[in-house]
Structure formats: C-alpha cells, structure tokens
Subunit: 629 residues, 2 copies
Amino acid sequence: MADFEGGYGCAVGLLTYDCFDNIEEFVQEAIDSGHDFVATPIVHSKYSRVLECKAGDSWRDAPVYDRGDLVLRKAQWSDAVAGSLSEWIQLDSKDDDIRINSELAFKQEVAFACHLGLFTVITPRLVPGTSCINMARVINHLVTGMSVTQMWVHVLMDNQHAAWRQWNQFRGLTENNPKIGVVLELPAVLPEDDMLLDAWFAEPVKAVIVPSEIFISNPKGYPVLSKRHQSFVKKLMRRMQPQMIVTVPTTQIHASATPSSYQEYIHYLHRNLPAMDQVEEFASGYQDYLQAPLQPLMDNLDNNMYETFERDPIKYQEYEKAVYHALLDRVEHGSDYVTKIMVVGAGRGPLVNCCLRAADKAERKVQLYALEKNPNAFVTLQNAKAEEWHDRVTLIFADMRKWKPDTKIDILVSELLGSFGDNELSPECLDGAQKFLKDDGISIPASYTAYAAPMASSKLYNEVAAYKDLVHFETPYVVMFQQVCELAPSKALWTFEHPNLVIPKDQDPTNNLHNARYSRVQFTVSDKEDMVMHGISGYFEAVLYKHVKISIHPETHSPGMFSWFPIFFPIRTPMQIPKGSTVTLDFWRVSDAKKVWYEWSGTVESDQGSHTAVLPIHNVGGRSYWVGL
Amino acid sequence: MADFEGGYGCAVGLLTYDCFDNIEEFVQEAIDSGHDFVATPIVHSKYSRVLECKAGDSWRDAPVYDRGDLVLRKAQWSDAVAGSLSEWIQLDSKDDDIRINSELAFKQEVAFACHLGLFTVITPRLVPGTSCINMARVINHLVTGMSVTQMWVHVLMDNQHAAWRQWNQFRGLTENNPKIGVVLELPAVLPEDDMLLDAWFAEPVKAVIVPSEIFISNPKGYPVLSKRHQSFVKKLMRRMQPQMIVTVPTTQIHASATPSSYQEYIHYLHRNLPAMDQVEEFASGYQDYLQAPLQPLMDNLDNNMYETFERDPIKYQEYEKAVYHALLDRVEHGSDYVTKIMVVGAGRGPLVNCCLRAADKAERKVQLYALEKNPNAFVTLQNAKAEEWHDRVTLIFADMRKWKPDTKIDILVSELLGSFGDNELSPECLDGAQKFLKDDGISIPASYTAYAAPMASSKLYNEVAAYKDLVHFETPYVVMFQQVCELAPSKALWTFEHPNLVIPKDQDPTNNLHNARYSRVQFTVSDKEDMVMHGISGYFEAVLYKHVKISIHPETHSPGMFSWFPIFFPIRTPMQIPKGSTVTLDFWRVSDAKKVWYEWSGTVESDQGSHTAVLPIHNVGGRSYWVGL
C-alpha cells in the first residue's frame, strides 16, 4: 500500500463481509475491476463455535485454526488485503466464558493477520450504547506487539454524535495510542451540525468506508455522492489522506452501475480535488509538524530563513501600503520635507525596499536608516547599499535596544512579530527603539493582538506526548494545522501598542512590568454535543497603520500570506468538554531580567457550575520554555 | 516548632491581625499566656500605598521597605512567628497596575519572611466567588524557591462547600504542589453533611484556626467548643497533626475567660484524645506510607515478617474457630476417624497450632500435614515438630503447586490472602493444592472477595507523584490510610471460591483463564456537592468457613485484626467528580504464563450522560506492576 500513503494518489479498496471459499478469485476480480485492495474477513464465521468453549477445553490452552476455518490462508495476497476481524467476537460480553473465549479468538486472529503480514486489521464495528471498555484494554495491549500490521477501529458515523462519544471514550481509555487508527464508515445522512463532521478531523482517521447504499443515482443512473457527502469526503481526502473503501451491492441499486463504478467515482473525486492555494503549497510537508518557535534575539536567522520569509507575496505589500499611507498623512504633497524612516531589524533589507517603493509611489522625500544586529545579514545590506540604495539608505550595525541615536526619526518600521504576536519579543525590542522616534513619530506596526482558542487534535497531542517529558508539554510550537478541529472562534488575549507612552520619554524602560500580561477568555464549545480538547491554538492580528492590517487569525487571515503558521500550546491532559460547559483559558506573559515566557491553564465548568476539569498551570516560572532577552 | 511536629504534643498559636508597633511585647505576652507561637502580620497595612504605583515609579524596579513599614523587623522571634501576608494584596485584581503591584508586594513580603526564617507564611484568606487563579500562579512559582519557610493557604471553611471548591481549583492549578499547605479556619456552624467535613482529611491541612468567636460558654463561663466542633477538631488532631491557632477576643465574650483560656482548652482537647486502639498502635508510623505489596511466591518472607503477622490477635482466633466448626460438621463426636488436615504455606507454623487447638477443643482426632516452600521457615517448623508437635504433624518441604501427594486430605488450610484478597496469588496456589483434597474436602478459606472504592487523598497522590514516573502510578500499594476521604462505600469486584470445581479432578489446571476477572462498579459520590478523586482503595472479605469470616472492608472490618492494611491503586490524573455524577471503575485481573497483574481504569459521567473524565487504562499488559507466578 506504500504507493498510496504519500498522499499523491488515493487507494480505493473493496469491502466484503462474505466469507469466500475462494478468496484468490475475489481478490483478482476486485483488482480487475479497478480496486487497489480488498477488505475481507480473515476467519470463517463458523469458527464462532469456539465461543462455546468452557474451562478445561483444550482450545483454551492453545487456540489453533483448522485450515477450513480460514478465509485467508496464505500470505500471497497480504499487501492487497485489509483483514476484517470477526464480527461475532464479543469482547465486552457479560458472560465470562464468552468474553474470555472472545479475547482468545481475537488475539488469535490478530496474531494470524500479523503472521500473514496484512497491512491492517479492522475491528468489529463499535456499537454505541454498549460497552467497549474490555475491547479497549485488549487492543491497547495487543498493539504493543504489532509492527507492520495496523489496527483500525471501525466506527459507523451517526447523526447523534454517539459514535464519536464512544470512540472518544475508547481513545481516552487507550490514551490516544498512536498505533490505533479509525476507519470511519459514512452514513446515508450526514449530521447537520458541521461541528459533528469537523470533530473527525481531530481523530486518527486512517480509512473511510463509503458503502454503495449511500450513493445516489445521477440522471444517467450512475452512482454519485450527494453534495454534502462529496464535500466531506473531499475534506477528508485533503486533510487526512485516508485509504478509501467502497462496497459493491449484491443487487443492482444504481441502474447503470458496474462493479467498477463506485471506486471510479471515488478516484474521480480525488482527481478533482481543488488545486492547492499558495499558502497550502508553501505549507506542504509542514502540516501538523511541530516547530520550536524562533529565538531571533538570542540566535541569528540564517540566510535560508530570510529567503523563505521574503517570499511572502502579501506581507511586504501590506507594509508598503502602510508606509505609503503614513507618508501621505504625514507630509503634504510637494513638500521638501525629508521623512526619516528607520527599519529596525532590517535583515537582508526587504522592508527597506518596501519603504523606498512606498516613498516613490507617494512622491515623498525620504531618508532611510536600516538597523540590524545580525553581522551576516549586515553583509547583504552592505551589498544592497553599494549596488542599489547608495545614499538613500544609511546602515547601522547595532542592537536596537542599546544603540544611542544622534538624530530622531519620523517612522519606525519593524517586522518582529511571531505567530502569537509578541512571542518573538517585539514589545521589548520596540520599547528600546522608540527613543529614536520623534514625539509624534509613527511605529509600523502600531499594535498587535494575541488570540487563543481551544482545539482538538489527537495528532498534535500525540506528537507532543511522544517526547514523554514535561518540557515538551510546556512548550508552544509553530504548526501548520491540518488534522485539527477548532472548537470555537478564537478570542483576543491582549494587545501591545507602539510607541508605548508609559515609558518615560527618551529613556530605556527600567523594568519590563509594562509588558506583563494576564488574560482570561471563556468559550462555550457546544450546547448540544460533547467534545474533547487537546490543546490551544494561538494567532495574532496586527495593525500596521490605521486600516492596513495583517492577520493570521482564522476569521480575518490575510489571503495568501504564508509567513506565519499558527502557534500551538499543548496541554498535559486532554480535557473532556461536556455539552453546555464553559472552557476557561488563563494566559500569562511573564518576564524576569533575562527572559520572557508564557504560562497557561484551562478549566472546564459544567452548566451547573461544577469544575469538571482543572489543568495545572503550565510552564511554571518558565521552567520548560522561555524566550531569551 | 520542631518539638510539636512529631505529633506527640500540640502547638497552639495566637493569631492577631493587628499591626503591633511593639511586636516583641505581643510575642512575650502570648508566650506568657501559654501560647507556643504567634501568627501576626509581617508588614504594616500602611504599606498598601504601593498599590498606587504606576509604570516608571522606582519602587517597581526594586521594591524596598522602610523600617517603619514592618511589623516584624528582626529574625529574633522567627521560630515563634507565623507571618500573615498582607490582606490588602489583590493578586487577582482586574486592574493591571494593582495586580502587578500586588504581585511585587507579595513576593517582597514572602522574600522577607524567608529572610527572617519564619517557619511559615499564611496567605490572605481565599474568598469564594472571586478568582484565585493568578494567586495560584504566583504562589506556585514562589514556593519553588522556598526551603525552610512553609506556605499555607488560608481557607475559611463554610457550610456550602464553596471554600473547598475554591481550594480544589487552587490545588488543581498548582498540581497538588506538596509545598503548599492549608490553614483551615473553622466557622461557627459546621456543615451538616459529614462528607463536607471528611473532605478536608484528604487535603494538606497543616494548621487549624479556631477563632474565639466560635467558642461557646460552659456553665462556668469558660470558653468551650460545641460537641460537633470538638469531634471534628479531635479528628483533625488525630489524623492531620495540625498546628492549632486561636484568637483572643478584644472584648470579653466568655464571662470567665482569660487570655490563656482558649489555648488551654485546645491543649485540653489534645491531651484527652482517645487512646489508640490496638490496630492504631500497630499502624503507628505506617500511616499513609506506601508499601509495595509482597511477592510471597517469588520472594521468601523473612523472620521479622512472620513474627509481625503472627502477632495478630484476631486472625488466628478466627482460623481456629473455622477449623473447629469444620471438624464438628465433618466428624461425629466420639468417632475414631482421623481427620487429615493440611496447612499449605505453613510458614513458621501458627496455623498448625490453630488446627491442633481446634482439634483439642472439638475433641476430634486429627493428623496434621504442614507444607512449606521457604527453606528458612522450614527450619522453624522442624524445631516445632521436634519440640512440640512430634507425630501429630508431618512436614513437607515443597511448592504446593507442584507437589504430588500420596494421600488425600479432608481439610486444606491456608493463609495466602493479600490486602486485595487474591493479590498474593492465593487462587493460583490453591488451584494447585486442591488435588490433595478429597472430593468432599474443605478449603479454609472457602472464598474471598475483592472490594474497591473511589477515594480522595492529596497526600497519597503526592507520595506517588513524587517518583515522577509512570511505573509508580501503575503500582498498587499497601497503605494504612490516614489523610484520606473515602468517597463512597466500597463495592465487591469479584470472588474466588475453593475448591474450584472448574478444574478437572486430580489435575493441574492447564491454563489460568478461570482466574481471570473483569468487573465494573459504579458509585454516586454526592448529589449535592462536588468532590475530587485521587485513587482507589481496595479491601477483601473472606469466608473462612460458613459463618466464620475475616474482613478488612471498612463496613465489616474484623475488630482488632491488623495483619492487613488496605491496598491503594493510584490514578495518574486526579478526577473531578461533579455533584450528581457517576464514577465507574473498571478492574481486570489478568495473567499470562509467568505473572498475574491488575489493570484499572475510571470514568466520570455527568447526570446528563456526558463523560467528564476518562482515565487511560492503567498498567497495560502488566507493564508497571505484576506478581510473579
């Protein structure tokens, strides 16, 4: 199946529950009719006789198959076969003997599937309203010994979210075990509430079953999916890259259908996925990948990093617009006044070019200053000055927090923002730089605001948990979200404004308390359905100048801007969010003489005022994560 | 204060909120009137002026006291002073400046208290209905740097459990930080619901404030406590060994009271605590101490261990009674029949003596067999045979699971039970031994049942968490409970019966599946109040013979029997239990060829059917804890 797992193609399998005596023939027919693999029982249902075993029966000592008990007997087809585990197995039976025999038979079947080297086994369908707790225990233990063969839990999606609730319990019991995936069977009618669909993007959906019965006939009698099904399947394909599985009906239910029609339609949907936009293309390969946030004050960016960030088509356009409008507002047309603009943290000079273009367009006279602390980038600035800018730009090699200017400037331009706005210490840097600014000087950006929202993502939780230490659970990451479900629109935590009038004129701040922040935001996720939370998503919105803004906040995201992925704050324990409850997030920005850090915490309160979950405060005293000053 | 912390005496302090100019005098008077220490403000309330500071004020750069701002100026009295932190500090103010200044002032005050070497500082009282989240963050961080000085959070107990709920949130936010204690102030009216009192036994109550206003006058006009207050205070003294703190009223509210009366009464209560019973005496020093359960099959008990267990006054009395009744039932008075009794796991022989005494008392003829696998204990058996038993007892050196007998016996007597009944593998041992037994033979014990209940205990949770690894969270411990709150009466999980008729006659079992168990028990903790759960308590009840039973189950505990402490199953994350919700515990007893282990899990479900908490299954596949076969 390796060919299909890269996300370039789409594997479509054919599912049967019949126990074929001649499985080779069935597999051959399936492949001949264009399917990439089959999903079939491994063991004949007649083997269910073993459920009757009692203590003392020798089968219990060493379960063994007769050849005739097996549908799959040889490893020959193993790379084209997903094995369905026997539906008659009752791991949660209240009858001790049946439960014990079921466990033996289940283990026997999985062991045989692993022996054959099948790429996956699929559990019997979870049945909402019945217990799956012993099944969770058995599978949780079994997967520790499975390497090649995957374990997929079969979930039939429903309108009432009951299947998700049961899977949620199963996932909780098995502690988000990354070796356990979901095969999601779609129902004829999808839930109306989009959140019930979105919830699955946060789950480890490895495969999707689209039974032939849920196809409708198009005017020509061919099977197609409803618009709503199409849309959901396409989103699943794009975000989860699942294996797809269809069935072929035993009687003709779509007039013109052949055994190939169902897989052809799925393949057709996949071929016609909308092309990736610029941001998606840029992010390709980075989805759900945890990056430690930059430490641009302590570390110097390398050339590659500058190169990447300079490619953003939107960011510099907006900066140019901001400078342009600031110049128009500040200086009358035709004036001889030379506006002094300083770019602090000029890097390799993209903002300098923005300013020059803005000045040309605005027809205003300007003198540019470019300040940079990175000696390597400074060489590039020197090249640009020698080759392009000449006298229009003065270069200054210095740390903006320490440099003493001999002249004051009109407009201070910087691009020091991180995914969470202030997380790369823009406030502290600009506090130091604002003493270069005239009393009526302008800072671009003028302000920026951090946002946060609760989110679900089994994937991201597992990525963090895989490190098995506290430090990684208390570190925010820059992540391009993909297999996630935002549980509520994000809310503003705090804002920084520049210049900061609290700081005495012409002085460096003597402490950093004015950049401390504490904010509490509350969310009602759903009045109707239970959900689960795995972490917190963070964004920023910045006002560059008046109406000129940039944003990575989902509701206002600057189209096409790719310089910033969102930020992800993990939580150490997933929190259940019962319907109607309130999620409260507390966020702090704290600093001491050497560093700045965040602490965060979350609580869930029921609609009756009981705390149902209280997270410990994360990153106490910056013990796990901080940004150096 | 070291004198009082051992639990032998009881320190009583005098609390004042007045800011005395001459603190030396106040301390001297307090001590002269029989108090052991004082609790006093450290800083004058006039220092609250710093709340008005703004950015740029130099105080913010380096907070410093004027000498006149301080109540406590010298370290001289430090070992007799608990410092009350300023009540005017508003760590959770919504005003940024007030909150930031409060944090600076709070840290300054704690730092000064640490500098003086005070034995503790006491926070301003938590105010239910207001936020304590920022206070939690500040304290959580501060205590990491405190070594000598303790941090006590002042909680005023109330009728409505609101104070507990707030403390519960505080404790959750600070992750049961063992450096943070509670000083519990008693109200004039204690809650009617005993559970609201009991809840505090699970909390780290380090001190108890008994304000003079809640004393009532006895007929002679002296201050005394109500019966209900007395009872609660005594329980607190016995279980928590808290420091006690009283106040002295400024006006005479109890006609005959002197400034000494309040402390005298508290000292009087402490002197008159009921004497410890035999079990308490035996357990003394072991309370809340986590012991790894025995592995008697893999390891041999040492002589000390035998010695300790043989001292139990009740256990052997009940065994003797069981054998006596079995003999009476089995053999007619005057018969010449010689009943063969075998003690398996005879150790140093106490059960052999029981059987001989029972036979003498019943006037029945017996032949005793004593089987033991521990070569060291076997020497003691040989001594006893040589010196006392002679021909009445035959010794067998063997493992009961493997020995092949040449004669069958009437009564099989064993004492293989652990705190959870089957946790020392009594079922597996007796399965092997029952082939010695005649068809109508009797096993003593005849059956045993394991019990479990949800419990709260910040102390036990912390003891486990201190190991900072998964293994300790997935290991059950034998513990004498003290600082705990049982959240509901325990429920039966499963029973083992002997002889086990499922095993084919005269054979060894070929597998151990008949000793696998799975059980689910559900509890409603409280319909009225929220609680929290930190772990699971486990017990057993055993039927030795018919009506002769032994039990460590709280409701049926055999009086005076001390051989078994309860068992404690930790959980990895404390679970909030909102009022009206249902706690479900799932327990498994699992085995493979070499070992037996338990797995356990818990869920909380709201009265609306939402899961509010789902614990991962603990000890998957016996990865952390098992008992070797």
